[in-house]
């Protein structure tokens, strides 16, 4: 394993900046900055090993090229075992099939509102979340279906939630953008970008609190916060980078940089588009990784999660990825260059993993097809389950507004409103 802890922790002398490589993309030339969205990714690995100016804390660097070297050796040194490979494959297939089914169901009028699909980004979810324990927490944004699935929420619970049925993971009250699961420690599902990051920081704070104040010595729960490139210009992102680094919270900030925030190109919105560089500015490692390659993501994730578990603090991981569909099912997706889309479609993470598994004799085509068929059935069953599940009844309307329903107050008759028999019917006047 090429990243040792020392690579992340090495302090750097001041003013060391290695020369950038020649394949640095055109983005550095201001004249072509605006509008040249397709030029950033002409080189698949734009970021080289780049020393940051040392700050008060230990120096931190990008390590993606180390992973690149590792991949070259793959023929002699397999990156994964068969079991692990199949787990990853199944998870990514589940994510893809589920999202495709969501699109179908949406256009058939089974789900409504804003639905944001994850197609193309599966390597990030699978690469990170499959390394977690059940007690670790995941916080996401509105593009959260696959994060929930990877973490272990049953497909039928997610589909039901999308259909707005009472058997959904949030009883139909959350919807596509608010996936929560106490059992699997999914803390949401947030509609406004950035607002989940402080919540994730809080979950990481609890982990540290448990260890240091409540003296639960074995508590090493980590939290993953997933969010996009657009969020990285938001204040909450920076405020939380600061607090997480300051208190060495066990959190990993995972940026799913798919280059587009609805119709706003990342390059048109960001003064310095290299998001991983913002980590060292706050005193934490910043890593850039190819988010279309589940192995690379997994390697980086292992190191970052290991750091967090050992109490060494947070990491910022920028995953270069791409969404194959529009921002949401309501997005006509007219702004993105078809050439760009084609380029990333050629790097489909599922196709890449399949190729790797088959070429390295880790699995046969037949085995993989069996998995695909199994997942198809799981997704079909999820739809059937959601279809036959009941809609929420009126009695559910007032139920979860307060954890303690005394919060509705005292009515004119002196009784608490929640004691009113109509309350459980959902028709009480509150």
């Amino acid at each position: 394993m090429s990243f040792s802890a020392t690579k992340f922790a090495q302090p750097l002398p001041l003013n060391t900046t290695s020369p950038r490589s020649n394949d640095k993309p055109i983005l550095l030339k201001t004249s072509s900055f605006l509008g040249s969205t397709h030029k950033l990714r002409s080189n698949p690995h734009p970021t080289k090993f780049n020393h940051s100016i040392s700050c008060r804390r230990s120096g931190v660097v990008a390590v993606s090229d180390v992973v690149k070297q590792k991949k070259v050796q793959s023929s002699t040194n397999l990156l994964i075992t068969k079991e692990e490979g199949l787990v990853l494959y199944e998870d990514m297939i589940l994510g893809r099939s589920f999202e495709d089914m969501c699109a179908q169901m949406y256009y058939r009028g089974k789900m409504f509102g804003f639905v944001h699909l994850y197609n193309g980004q599966e390597a990030v979810s699978t690469g990170f979340i499959k390394l977690l324990k059940k007690e670790d927490s995941v916080v996401s944004t509105y593009r959260d279906h696959v994060h929930a699935l990877s973490k272990g929420v049953p497909a039928r619970a997610v589909m039901s939630e999308l259909f707005g049925k009472t058997t959904g993971c949030c009883r139909g009250q959350g919807g596509s953008m608010h996936m929560f699961s106490k059992e699997h420690n999914i803390l949401g599902g947030f509609a406004f970008i950035g607002e989940g990051i402080p919540v994730a920081t809080g979950a990481a704070f609890t982990s540290k609190y448990r260890r240091e104040v409540l003296k639960e010595a074995d508590c090493d729960h980590v939290t993953l916060a997933f969010f996009g490139d657009g969020t990285c210009n938001n204040g909450q992102f920076f405020e939380c980078l600061n607090m997480a680094a300051l208190w060495k919270l066990p959190i990993i900030f995972v940026v799913e940089n798919n280059l587009w925030a609805i119709g706003m190109s990342h390059l048109r919105a960001t003064s310095d588009p290299e998001i991983w560089k913002k980590g060292p500015a706050f005193g934490m490692p910043g890593v850039h990784v190819d988010g279309m390659d589940v192995f690379k993501v997994r390697e980086v994730a292992k190191e970052a999660i290991g750091r967090a578990r050992r109490g060494e603090g947070p990491t910022l991981v920028e995953c270069e990825t791409y969404r194959f569909r529009g921002h949401s099912l309501a997005d006509p997706d007219e702004l993105r260059d078809p050439a760009e889309k084609a380029k990333y479609a050629a790097r489909d993470p599922i196709v890449a993993l399949k190729k790797y598994l088959v070429e390295n004799k880790l699995a046969s085509e037949q085995e993989l097809k069996t998995i695909e068929k199994k997942i198809d059935e799981v997704v079909e069953e999820a739809v059937e389950f959601a279809d036959v599940s009941p809609h929420p009844s009126r009695s559910q309307l007032l139920e979860n507004v307060f954890a303690d329903p005394k919060g509705f107050g005292i009515g004119p008759d002196g009784r608490y409103r929640c004691e009113d028999p109509k309350f459980t019917e959902g028709t009480a006047h509150v």
Binding site: C169, H178, V199, R210, V213, M243, I410, D413
Partner: protein
């Protein structure tokens, strides 16, 4: 010197017996203080000259309530000594700290986070000494990032802690509105009841002494529409400690509004542990002629006006609503049914304040019992000016309250 009144529970028998004793302008009649085991709530008032008078029994409320004599700011030391009783005297900010400390002792998941709460002890000294006692992680000094540390508190609450987030000034929590509205209020619901958010958000607000517009805000009017939160406002050391403890123990997110000018109020509070109810209003002074509903600092302006009114022969019933959301419609309603006239005195601005909501709630529920339209005295819809004279005219003053009652009772 303004006398500080405090009492609990609604009154039913009071009116009858107060009439039986001649009601002259100088005396209020109240029942003597009972011990903690008594099941009925009582209240009493200490006049500014310092004599303790027995008060009247009132309808039973929660058995936890225990009332010690209210102590006026300066002149009441004689009253405290005449009645030999347990309890200890302290200032309101100390009462808040005492409540906080007791809860932190009781439950190790209770923690505090905010700007300067740790080493500095809190901008109003509410958390003084706590960091030394509990450590820097349990009393956490945060960077200046309200939205994020409030969100962090919410995330911590979802994962098992019970944080108290302090806004150094309530106005700063405007920066945390995203987190308070979207996450604090809504997450229990959108998660289908899976996650609870037992967070307390507290801080000083209200119009101070020439603090300028931005430091003089009344956020209760902005937060009141958020579904899923409760709001309470403390006004005396007794209810400050009681509400602090109740808020911490509550499973719901609670916003506790303190007032910048009330931190140095002194009162004798019980030694025994007690908790106030988050949803109940407080009967400050029972009366017959008019119901005056108020909260926080305006309570003292009202009581000052009440002295004048009593001298003029009026008998106002003063209720400190305490629970800004939800309203205690039982206490309020019983009062309206008795007096048929309502005056609301608040510090919020005219537009969209607590008074506006209260007016609507009373009209909706008790319209038949009203003999006159509800009068609501609020602050002017003006950014609070710096100049002392202008500032005085933006908030409701006792003279205006007296005039309003006189007009209402014509």
């Amino acid at each position: 010197m303004a006398t500080i009144f405090r009492g609990l529970g609604a009154t039913t028998a009071l009116s009858a017996s107060s009439k039986s004793n001649s009601f002259d302008s100088n005396r209020f009649h109240f029942q003597s203080r009972r011990s903690l085991s008594a099941r009925k709530a009582t209240f009493l008032v200490v006049r500014s000259e310092g004599k303790l008078n027995p008060g009247l029994n009132s309808r039973a409320r929660r058995p936890d309530h225990f009332i010690a004599n209210a102590v006026a700011t300066k002149t009441d030391s004689s009253a405290a000594s005449t009645a030999s009783k347990p309890g200890h005297e302290l200032l309101l900010f100390e009462a808040l700290r005492e409540g906080l400390e007791e809860e932190m002792d009781r439950d190790p998941t209770v923690c505090v986070m905010g700007e300067d709460v740790g080493h500095y002890g809190g901008s109003y000294k509410v958390t003084k000494g706590l960091a030394t006692k509990y450590g820097d992680l349990r009393v956490l000094d945060t960077p200046i990032a309200e939205n994020s540390f409030t969100g962090m508190g919410i995330g911590a609450a979802m994962t098992g802690l019970r944080p108290i987030v302090e806004g150094m000034n309530m106005g700063f929590l405007l920066l945390a509105f995203n987190q308070i509205s979207n996450n604090c209020g809504m997450l229990h619901y959108t998660s289908g009841g899976q996650f609870k958010i037992p967070i307390v958000i507290r801080g000083p607000g209200g119009v101070g002494r020439q603090l300028g517009a931005e430091h003089s805000q009344r956020l209760e009017s902005y937060f009141q529409s958020i579904p899923g939160i409760q709001m309470v406002a403390c006004s005396t050391p007794y209810n400050a400690k009681g509400l602090m403890k109740a808020a911490i123990r509550s499973e719901n997110p609670v916003i506790l509004f303190e007032h910048v000018l009330l931190y140095n109020l002194k009162e004798r509070i019980p030694d025994e542990e007690y908790v106030c109810s988050l949803e109940e209003a407080e009967m400050v002074r029972p009366g017959e002629h008019v119901t005056i509903l108020t909260y926080s600092r305006m309570r003292y302006h009202v009581m000052q006006a009440a002295k004048t009114l009593v001298n003029k022969g009026y008998d106002p019933e003063v209720i400190d609503i305490r629970s800004l959301k939800p309203f205690d419609l039982k206490t309020i309603g019983d009062s309206v049914k008795k007096t048929h006239r309502v005056l609301i005195v608040e510090e919020c601005m005219r537009t969209g304040g607590i008074g506006a909501s209260l007016t609507a709630a009373i009209t909706e529920n008790f319209h038949d019992y009203l003999d006159a339209p509800i009068v609501c005295l609020s602050s002017q819809d003006v950014p609070t000016p710096y100049a002392g004279t202008l500032e005085e005219w933006t908030v409701v003053q006792p003279a205006q309250i007296v005039t309003a009652v006189e007009q209402l009772c014509q």
